[in-house]
């Protein structure tokens, strides 16, 4: 760990104005979102905008509330207060319409182990009421290098294959907004790269992606913008470059070194505070 700067107080809560705010109505628009589980105040007023067609990483330690946030946006959970709109639709009042414009890839691969990969895809295509489910399944199998494995039961797949299938299932019907909750947690490095590639292809096709992660390098690699969720709020939100500029260039004894995202993260969050929250 190369944390050389210690000026956390002035940074917390700082807002970076976005240089490029393309459309008036972002794909995801969240204001003052709050959610508690009994006494545990998980979200305490989250504000977040995700521009159409961008990849935003929601970065936070284990237990920060990333899954809670995604589940609210995916209409699986009701917020206690605040508003959230996805694709200009309020998640509380237009839940059914929101569900038609999103897909969720949960923290754990939600695939049917007893069915084959192809059957999983066909099932989802049928549930999305699309024509030619078989053709859609074959296309996706090819796109995710699963054609050979397509006829095998998912129970026999490796972790990476399962995750790829999981993401392929999420793409059926081309939902304009995709949520990926910790898409690479528990994957080996090779599988991780495969998933990253899949996410990049998604965004290249114009899909808006909100992904959560605990991995700083994942956020660095994939995201156009990074939002750090800490103690129930988005403490900072910006591009990697903007986040870096939050910390003055390190004046170390020997070499001048750009602060990494890890530096920014640890400075903002405090290296020791994430314990005991899981």
């Amino acid at each position: 760990m190369t944390l050389t700067l210690r000026q956390p107080s002035m940074l917390t809560g700082m807002d970076i104005p976005s240089a490029t705010q393309p459309t008036p109505e972002p794909a995801i628009h969240v204001r003052g979102l709050e959610k508690s589980y009994k006494d545990l105040r998980v979200l305490r007023g989250v504000d977040l905008d995700v521009a159409r067609g961008s990849i935003v990483a929601l970065l936070g330690s284990n237990g920060a509330g990333k899954t809670t946030m995604v589940r609210i946006l995916a209409t699986l959970l009701r917020a206690d207060a605040g508003t959230a709109r996805v694709n200009s639709l309020d998640v509380a009042t237009r839940a059914a319409d929101v569900r038609a414009s999103i897909s969720l890839t949960g923290q754990f691969a939600a695939v049917d182990e007893i069915l084959t990969g192809r059957e999983n895809l066909v099932l989802i295509a049928r549930l999305r009421h699309l024509k030619d489910p078989g053709g859609i399944a074959d296309d996706l199998l090819a796109r995710f290098s699963l054609t050979e494995a397509g006829g095998r039961r998912v129970g026999t797949y490796s972790g990476g294959m399962r995750r790829r299938l999981d993401i392929a299932m999420s793409l059926i019907g081309n939902p304009p907004v995709v949520f990926l909750d910790e898409p690479t947690t528990g994957l080996d490095p090779q599988a991780r790269l495969e998933v990253w590639q899949a996410v990049r292809e998604l965004a290249a096709g114009g899909t808006t992606v909100l992904l959560t992660t605990q991995y700083l390098d994942e956020a660095e690699q994939l995201a156009d913008r990074i939002a750090i969720l800490h103690e129930g709020r988005i403490v900072v939100d910006g591009t990697l470059g903007e986040l870096r500029r939050l910390l003055p260039p390190a004046t170390v004894e020997y070499v001048e070194k750009q602060p990494t995202l890890e530096d920014v993260f640890l400075t903002l969050v405090g290296a020791g505070t994430e314990q005991g929250q899981r």
Partner: protein
């Protein structure tokens, strides 16, 4: 009703039926215990039980059929629980589908699986001497009662499936249901039981349903038993359905 209800239910039913087709042992397991009870009672205890019926297997079969259903429906709780655990339940909930289709698919799967198990059990009963002079209408009536009973118990099974916190919890609820026929007219006439036990046995649903099916089997007039049996099934069905709907709403909100 959501306009996609039928299509979504059909898609999800196809999925669950594939599960069963790929692990037919669930149907065998469902049928084995009732068949074992049937053999045990017919060949070991049966000689000592005085029922007044011409053959004990004829007397016994209705109760065995109900035990088959009671053990079969625990798989509904089990499968539903696994769907929730595995996250696929949430995936379905986050999709634009008719939301009740998820439950109906499991319920209809249970119906199909239990009917197959019942056919197996009746087949074994025929092999060991079960005979009935029932006509087609009689068979349809028996099938109707069994379908209604299966639906009622399956909706009951949906509740632990949605609320359980462990696999064992999800299936354990069916044990008392399997035992219920033993304190009924299924194995011995209630007249031989001591007072309070007899009172319970004569007023619990299994006795009414068993008596109704038995009268159909022996081509006697079914009379009030049939209506009491149907009322029990319908009552359990409605209450279980409403409770399951509440559990479902809790689970998805």
């Amino acid at each position: 009703m959501n306009r996609h209800f039928l299509g979504d239910t059909a898609a999800l039913l196809g999925r669950s039926l594939r599960h069963i087709g790929r692990s037919p042992d669930t149907i065998v397991t469902t049928a084995i215990m009732p068949i074992a009870f049937m053999l045990l009672f017919v060949y070991v205890f049966g000689g000592a039980i005085e029922t007044g019926a011409d053959s004990y297997v004829n007397y016994l079969l209705p109760g065995i059929l109900l035990i088959t259903i009671a053990s079969g429906i625990s798989y509904t709780a089990y499968r539903l629980f696994l769907d929730i655990q595995g996250g696929i339940f949430e995936r379905f909930q986050s999709m634009p589908i008719a939301r009740s289709a998820v439950l109906w698919a499991h319920v209809l799967t249970s119906l199909v699986a239990n009917l197959v198990s019942l056919v197996v059990v009746v087949g074994v009963a025929l092999l060991i001497g079960f005979r009935t002079g029932m006509n087609v209408l009689g068979w349809l009536a028996v099938a109707g009662i069994l379908v209604l009973f299966t639906l009622a118990l399956t909706w009951l099974a949906v509740i632990p499936g949605l609320t359980a916190t462990s696999v064992d919890g999800a299936s354990a609820f069916s044990y008392p249901l399997i035992l219920l026929p033993f304190v009924s007219s299924a194995f011995v006439p209630t007249g031989s039981m001591p007072g309070p036990v007899r009172a319970f046995a004569e007023h619990q649903p299994v006795t009414a349903i068993v008596d109704a099916i038995r009268h159909l089997f022996t081509r006697q007039p079914v009379g009030a038993d049939l209506w009491v049996a149907l009322a029990w099934c319908a009552g359990i069905l409605v209450v279980a359905y409403l409770l399951a709907a509440v559990a479902y709403r809790r689970r998805i909100s």
